[in-house]
């Protein structure tokens, strides 16, 4: 199976290792991965701020970049939702581009979704290097991708050496919302503080967050408030587990 990585601009700059780990996991499960280097940003900031006219050329650009891809996989739920939900919508008045947008939407997957739905990856033999307590924040855009909060929680909970503790109000937004976080810091700040409190209450060492934006927000608040847990993408945990497997020196499983 051949996968094109849609790394997203935030992951590219702020969490490059997450991108590398996604590649590592996909390859472990038998995919070949390429990175179309012409990709920039999906235009979500433009779209969310009502600059629909400006978002269109960015969408067209990304549609072209991934034109020849078999599967497009992204580590970030919100960017993925931009491809899947909003691109077709942007071209409602242009059937030709709408069709191309729909074609991209049909082959785009969020990382966990791709692992579970398409690869049907068997993670039952994977085991973290050391006993770890995990909890999981459900990022909002997974809603429009029809990914329920239980999916990633189950996936993480089934790893070896893991104690999984459910997060209270896991489905409540972390308060990121792109420019919302900077424009309305009183509201956004109160929402993210609530998330930190709930996550700290679980006593888990790691909060899984599969979205670059949410991770910046929750991670930043975590650091500001001095919370003890760390924020990680599920790909980071899976990579640690894969590298932990006996005889795993980086060879590709078949």
């Amino acid at each position: 199976m051949h996968v094109s990585l849609f790394v997203t601009c935030l992951t590219d700059l702020f969490s490059p290792q997450v991108g590398m780990d996604v590649v590592r996991v996909l390859e472990h499960f038998g995919c070949t991965v390429d990175f179309p280097a012409d990709q920039t940003c999906c235009g979500q900031p433009q779209f969310n701020n009502g600059f629909l006219h400006e978002a269109r050329p960015l969408a067209q650009r990304m549609i072209r970049v991934f034109d020849r891809s078999q599967f497009v996989v992204s580590p970030s739920g919100s960017c993925c939702a931009m491809f899947r939900e909003h691109y077709p919508h942007l071209f409602k008045d242009d059937p030709q581009w709408e069709n191309r947008a729909l074609a991209l939407a049909a082959k785009t997957y969020e990382f966990v979704e791709f692992l579970t739905k398409i690869l049907k990856a068997d993670l039952s033999t994977l085991k973290l290097p050391a006993p770890t307590t995990l909890t999981y924040h459900y990022n909002c855009h997974l809603r429009s991708l029809n990914q329920s909060p239980e999916i990633c929680a189950a996936l993480a909970g089934n790893l070896g050496n893991v104690t999984f503790i459910p997060l209270e109000k896991t489905e409540q937004c972390c308060g990121f919302g792109g420019t919302f976080a900077s424009k309305y810091p009183d509201i956004s700040g109160a929402i993210v503080r609530d998330k930190i409190e709930k996550a700290a209450k679980t006593g888990a060492e790691v909060l899984i967050v599969n979205d670059a934006g949410c991770a910046m927000n929750i991670g930043g608040a975590c650091h500001r408030l001095g919370a003890a847990f760390r924020v990680k993408h599920i790909a980071e945990l899976l990579t640690a587990a894969i590298d932990n497997a006996p005889g795993a020196s980086g060879e590709v499983a078949t």
């Binding site: 790394v7 601009c9 590219d12 700059l13 490059p16 290792q17 991108g19 590398m20 590649v23 990175f35 280097a37 920039t40 940003c41 235009g43 433009q46 779209f47 969310n48 701020n49 009502g50 600059f51 629909l52 400006e54 050329p57 960015l58 909002c140 809603r143 429009s144 109000k169 489905e171 409540q172 937004c173 308060g175 990121f176 919302g177 792109g178 420019t179 919302f180 976080a181 900077s182 424009k183 309305y184 810091p185 009183d186 509201i187 956004s188 700040g189 109160a190 929402i191 993210v192 503080r193 609530d194 910046m216 927000n217 930043g220 608040a221 650091h223 500001r224 980086g250 060879e251 590709v252």
Partner: protein, 493 residues
Amino acid sequence: MTAPAIENHKSKENQSSTRHALPIFSSDFMGDARRASVNEALHAATENACVKKDAGRRALLPRDFANPDGLRTLAGNIKAHTLDHLDFYVEQLEANILKNGGQVHFAATAEEANQLIVQIAQQNQCKLIVKSKSMVSEETELNRSLIDAGLTPIETDLGELIVQIANDHPSHIVMPVMHMRRKQIGEIFAKFFNVPFTDEPQALAEMARVYLRDTFNKADMGISGVNFAVAETGSIVICTNEGNGRMCTSRPRVHVALMGMEKIIPRFADLSVFLKLLARSASAATLTQYTNIITGPKRPGEFDGPDQFHLIIMDNGRSRILASDYRDTLRCIRCGACLNTCPVYRTVGGHAYGSVYPGPIGALLTPLFNGLEHHEHLPQATSLCGACYEACPVKINIPEMLVLMRRDLKSVGKLKFSQRVLFRLWTIALSSKMLYLLGQKFQKLTLRHAIHSDAGWIKKLPGPAKGWTQARDFPKPPAKTFRQLWQERKPRP
């Protein structure tokens, strides 16, 4: 206990010369939101009620229905169909109400609706008016008009009664006093009923009950809202939990029902869809305690019911919304599910939204009714998390319409020129790989060498990013981008 008078309570607001379609209780969204976000008591009250109802809804729908999503789709489609053919159904509703012996009045504005009700009261020598809970009467500030005309309206829903006594405003569509704590209600009642303080819920409810029983017996007019108006049969449906709605609509001589014109559903059978969804979405109950289906006034030979039944069908800006990109907002059945699930509502409470309809649906309705230029923050002060869309029983795509409304900020002159330039430039930078890489390099350089920072985190950012670091730290980018790591990567053996 003597029945106290409420007459002296007049609303302070909206007596200025320019009347908005919806009353504006506050225009200081930023200030209200800031104060609310650090108000622990408000947060505890709101959070507790919202999370409970929201969790209840989430649990109930899949427990009771094999395909709750399909049910929501159906409800949304029925509403969409009705709105697409509203002219037809309004006429059908009118004809059937008349056939049932009722009277129908049309009001173009809130003021007209209020005047119609005052006239009906005056023509029938009605003085004491009992009201069941109705958001649309909050929209028209009906009580103010009634009091101005020398009439005495008494709210009979417990929450609304508390709001009325306290001269406050509802902070939630379904739970009007969600912002109050029990102690506060005890104090309000002690003062109003002139009794020793208690905050025992049963004692408080009993006080209200005794007072309201007496009022029901004396009242000569009842006013209700309308949850659904069935065009096919000319029936109106009122869903309440305290039985006060039934008292208001059966005991007094005259019953006036006030509805926004979007409340119509075509067929009686459609009710089965909406009744399944309304209580489950609103209060995590399978059905409201009282579901009244009212088809005309008392008929000859019947003992109960009013002599007259009047239905007022109000526009107040709805036909303008119907013709806009925002038609779907008129599907709303006022269940409050979007409020309960919304992280922003849970944080700032209902009053911060400044008008009668709070929460995600209010963030759309208030600017739609009153003009976006008066409420520029409402569509912007949301994270677009989409919980409201997921909760909505009639599938109003609220986040999508909030984005459209952000688009419209430009045309009402509420978007700073600097913002427009910034987004233009940003778009240009993202349109070329070279410029993108340049921008990336620049960001990396400036952020990695930012002042006010420690290892890995920036404490203070300038300009438009100032807000970010008001609430949390900003991460420094690592030394290498993904692109660089990818290029340096040795192919696996």
